[in-house]
Symmetry: C2
Subunit: 420 residues, 2 copies
C-alpha cells in the first residue's frame, strides 16, 4: 500500500491523557484512536494487525475442532437470571440498557450463559457431544477505571470457545488440546519466550484453572516462576500444599509482574445444571453436560505485544502479525527522482510476489522523519532506496527493525531474502 493512501499520520508527542506504553505508542503511530478512557477505535494499520491475530487464533481453534459462530451482544435478563448473574450486586461491570417497551437488557460481558442457552436447543443425546463452538466478539465491561490502553477496555474484542463434553474424561482430552493450541497462539504472535502457563484457582470441578501470563512490568498480576521447571503459579494458589503437589521449592520461585493473555477453565456442571443442559447417555439416563471455557482477548494480546516487544524508538512487530512485512523508503524530495522511480519498480515487483509492502511515497519529507516514522510504526523489514544506494546500480539499504545493522544488498538479493 502507498503510505499516502493510509490516512493516519504519526505524532511525535505522547498523548497527555495516556499512561500506558501500548496506548501511547499505538496512538502515536496511528494504529488506534481514543474515543474515551477504555474505548478505542481501531484504525487501518491496527486493523491489519488485529486481522492477523484473529487469523492465527482462528486457525488454532479450528485445528482442535472449534466451530465459529456469532452470538448477539444484547442479552436477556431471563437467560442470566438462571445463573444468578443478572443482578448488578453480583456482577458489578454490566452495561445495561432498555428496550422501547421498558424491558431491561444487558450487553455481553462474557458468554457462558449465551452459549448454554443456545446449546440447550441442540444437545439431547450422547451422539450430540462433544461440541466446541466459539466466536470473536466485542465484549463490554463497565470498568471503574481504565488506564491500561487496549489491555483493559470498557469495550474490547475477544475470542471465547466453550466445550460441551459428555463427561470429565472427554473434557480432559480436549482441555489438553486447548493448552497446546493456546501455547501455539502465544508462540505464533511472538510472545512464546515471555509467556507461562500458570496454575490458577479452579472451581468446584477442578483443582486448577490455567492462565497464560506474559511477563511484563505493565502487568497487573503477580506470578511465581520456577524457571528450571518452566512452571509458574498464580499468587492465589501459592500455598505449601500446592507447592508440595507440584514438587516445587518455594526458594526457587521468582516473582514477576505479568499480563494475563488468556485463560482456560473447567466449568463442569456450573452452567449446565441451572440451564438443565442435559443429554441421554447410551444407557438412557439423563445427565448434565460437562463444560469448559477458553478465552483470549484479541485487543489485549495486541497491546501486550506492544508492551513487551517495543523499544525506545517505537513498536517492533513480529512478522506474523505486522501490518506489512516491508517498509519501503525512497529518499529524495522529488517524485521524478531516481530513488522514487526505483522504489516504485521495487514496490510493484515485491507486491506482485505477494509480499505486503508499505511504500512511504510521501514527498518533501526529510530522511530523518521517514526513519523515525518507520521505527515508530515497527514494520519488520526496512528497505531504503536513495541516490547513495543507487550509485553503483540497483542496490538498497536493508535493515531489520530489531537490529541496528544495515547492509547494502542488490534488488535481486533483497527479493530472494524476503521470499525465502
Amino acid at each position: 500500500m502507498r503510505q499516502t493512501q493510509l490516512f493516519t499520520k504519526t505524532s511525535k508527542d505522547n498523548p497527555s491523557d495516556e499512561v500506558s506504553k501500548n496506548a501511547q505508542l499505538l496512538i502515536r503511530a496511528g494504529y488506534i484512536h481514543k474515543e474515551m478512557a477504555g474505548v478505542y477505535s481501531i484504525l487501518p494499520l491496527g486493523y491489519r494487525v488485529m486481522e492477523k491475530i484473529i487469523g492465527i487464533v482462528k486457525e488454532e481453534m479450528n485445528t482442535i475442532g472449534g466451530i465459529q459462530m456469532k452470538t448477539s451482544a444484547i442479552q436477556s435478563k431471563e437467560v442470566w437470571e438462571k445463573t444468578n448473574r443478572w443482578s448488578d450486586d453480583i456482577v458489578d461491570n454490566w452495561f445495561k440498557t432498555t428496550l422501547k417497551n421498558g424491558t431491561e437488557v444487558g450487553l455481553s460481558f462474557t458468554n457462558e450463559e449465551a452459549y448454554s442457552s443456545i446449546m440447550k436447543n441442540f444437545i439431547s443425546s450422547y451422539k450430540d457431544l462433544p461440541q466446541y463452538p466459539y466466536d470473536f466478539k466485542t465484549i463490554f465491561r463497565n470498568e471503574t477505571r481504565s488506564k491500561s490502553g487496549i489491555m483493559r477496555g470498557r469495550e474490547f474484542y475477544w475470542k471465547a470457545l466453550y466445550s460441551f463434553s459428555a463427561d470429565q474424561e472427554q473434557h480432559d482430552t480436549f482441555y489438553e488440546k486447548a493448552k497446546t493450541a493456546y501455547s501455539n497462539v502465544y508462540k505464533r504472535v511472538g510472545l512464546g519466550d515471555y509467556t507461562y502457563m500458570t496454575f490458577a484457582s479452579g472451581g468446584t470441578f477442578s483443582k486448577y484453572s490455567h492462565e497464560f501470563q506474559t511477563v511484563s512490568d505493565a502487568g497487573e498480576d503477580l506470578i511465581y516462576i520456577d524457571e528450571a521447571k518452566g512452571i509458574a503459579i498464580n499468587k492465589e494458589v501459592l500455598t505449601d500444599d500446592v507447592l508440595a503437589e507440584l514438587e516445587i521449592n518455594r526458594d526457587s520461585l521468582v516473582e514477576k509482574k505479568a499480563i494475563e493473555v488468556g485463560n482456560i477453565f473447567s466449568l463442569g456442571f456450573k452452567f449446565s445444571e441451572p440451564f438443565q443442559l442435559t443429554y441421554k447417555t447410551t444407557e438412557g439416563t439423563e445427565v448434565p453436560v460437562f463444560m469448559g471455557s477458553y478465552g483470549i482477548g484479541i485487543t489485549r494480546l495486541m497491546g501486550t505485544v506492544v508492551e513487551v516487544l517495543s523499544d525506545e524508538k517505537g513498536i517492533v512487530w513480529p512478522e506474523s502479525i505486522a501490518p506489512f512485512k516491508v517498509h519501503l523508503l525512497p529518499l529524495g524530495d522529488d517524485i521524478t527522482s531516481m530513488s522514487f522511480e526505483e522504489a516504485k519498480n521495487l514496490y510493484i515487483e515485491l507486491t506482485s510476489k505477494g509480499i505486503e509492502v508499505l511504500w512511504d511515497d510521501r514527498i518533501n519529507v526529510m530522511a530523518g522523519e521517514k526513519f523515525a516514522d518507520s521505527d515508530l510504526i515497527g514494520i519488520p523489514h526496512r528497505v531504503v532506496v536513495s541516490a547513495r544506494s543507487l550509485k553503483d546500480g540497483k542496490f538498497v539499504e536493508y535493515k531489520k527493525r530489531n537490529s541496528s545493522e544495515a547492509k547494502i544488498v542488490s534488488f535481486e538479493e533483497l527479493i530472494q531474502m524476503l521470499t525465502a
Copy 2:
C-alpha cells in the same frame, strides 16, 4: 464438514413467534437462534453465509479504494452533540447506557459522527484527500417493533463506508464507482435480477440519494419501476417534476413492494461543517471536506436472499454465498454400508480439491428426512450415494437444489462438473 460435527439440527415446525419467512426458515434450518425480538445469534451455518457475504462486500469496497478499520460501539455524547443527534427527541432509536462515573454513552446506531470525529485528526491538506475508510460493525437500533427477522434487527451487522473528498467533482467520481460496486454486490449474492437502483430523496447537497431495492412481498417500501428503462423511483420523490426530469411516463410505472438492501448518499458539508473538518487547498484557503455515505446491512442482505430465493421446501442459496457447495447424502442405515463407505471416499476426494462439502454422516436417519433437511438447508448441489446408485459401479444421483431433475453420474463426471 461432517454434519454430526455441526451441532445445529433442523426443525419441522415454524417457530410460533416469528411471522417473517426469513426468520422462520433460518431458524428451522439452524442458521440463527432468536435471543429476543430483533436480536439473533448467528449459528455456524449462518456464520458461513455471513462470512461469504462479508468477503464479497469487502472485495468490492477494496476495489474502489476502501480501507478497512473498526470503529468503537460505545460513542460519546460530546461527539454526537456537535450535529445535534444526541438527544432522544431528535434520534428516537438510540440505545444508551451509563459508565460507572455517571457519564451517559450511546451505542452506534450509525457512523457519520464517529468517522467525522476520527478523520478530523488526520485531514488538514488537499494532499490528504480523498479517503475512503469503512468498517463492518454491529449496529444497535432501539426499534419499537421488530417482526422482520434478520431484515430489521435491534442489533444487526452492517458495512458502512464514508468518503472524504476535496470537492463535489472528486466526490461525484467516487459516487459513480460506488454505484457500480453496489450493483456488483447484489449481482454476486444472487439478487441482481430483483434489485433496482432507485432515486430517493437527497439532502441539501444533492437532489437525489440512491437506494438499492430488492423486489419482494416482504418489503416495507414501495417503489415504482419503469421496466423498459430499468429505472425505479421511491415513493417520496414520485412527483411530476422528477418524472419529467427522468423522462418517465407515469403510466409506464409499476408499483412493487421492495426491501432496501443498501443506500448511498451525498452528505456534502452536513457533517464536516459541525466538526470543522476542513482542509487547506492548493491556494491555501481553508474549506470543508465533501462527504458521502455508503451502507449495506449484511444480515439484512442474508435475510433478503432467503425471502426472495427460497421455495416451499426451504432455502435456495446461490453458490456464491452458500454455506457449502455440495450436500453429500449417503443413504443406508449403517456406518458399515457400501453407500456410507463410498460417500466417505467421495467426501475425502472432493474436499481435497478444495470443494466445500457438508457430508450428512448421520446414521439411522431415513432417506426422506435427509432429503427434506437438505432442501430446507438449501445447499446448491445435492449428491446422493445409495445402494441403487452404486449397483452398476461408482455412480451417484446428482440434483441441483433449484431443479427438480436428478441424474445419475459417475464419480468422475461429478468431480469434473463441480470443479469446472
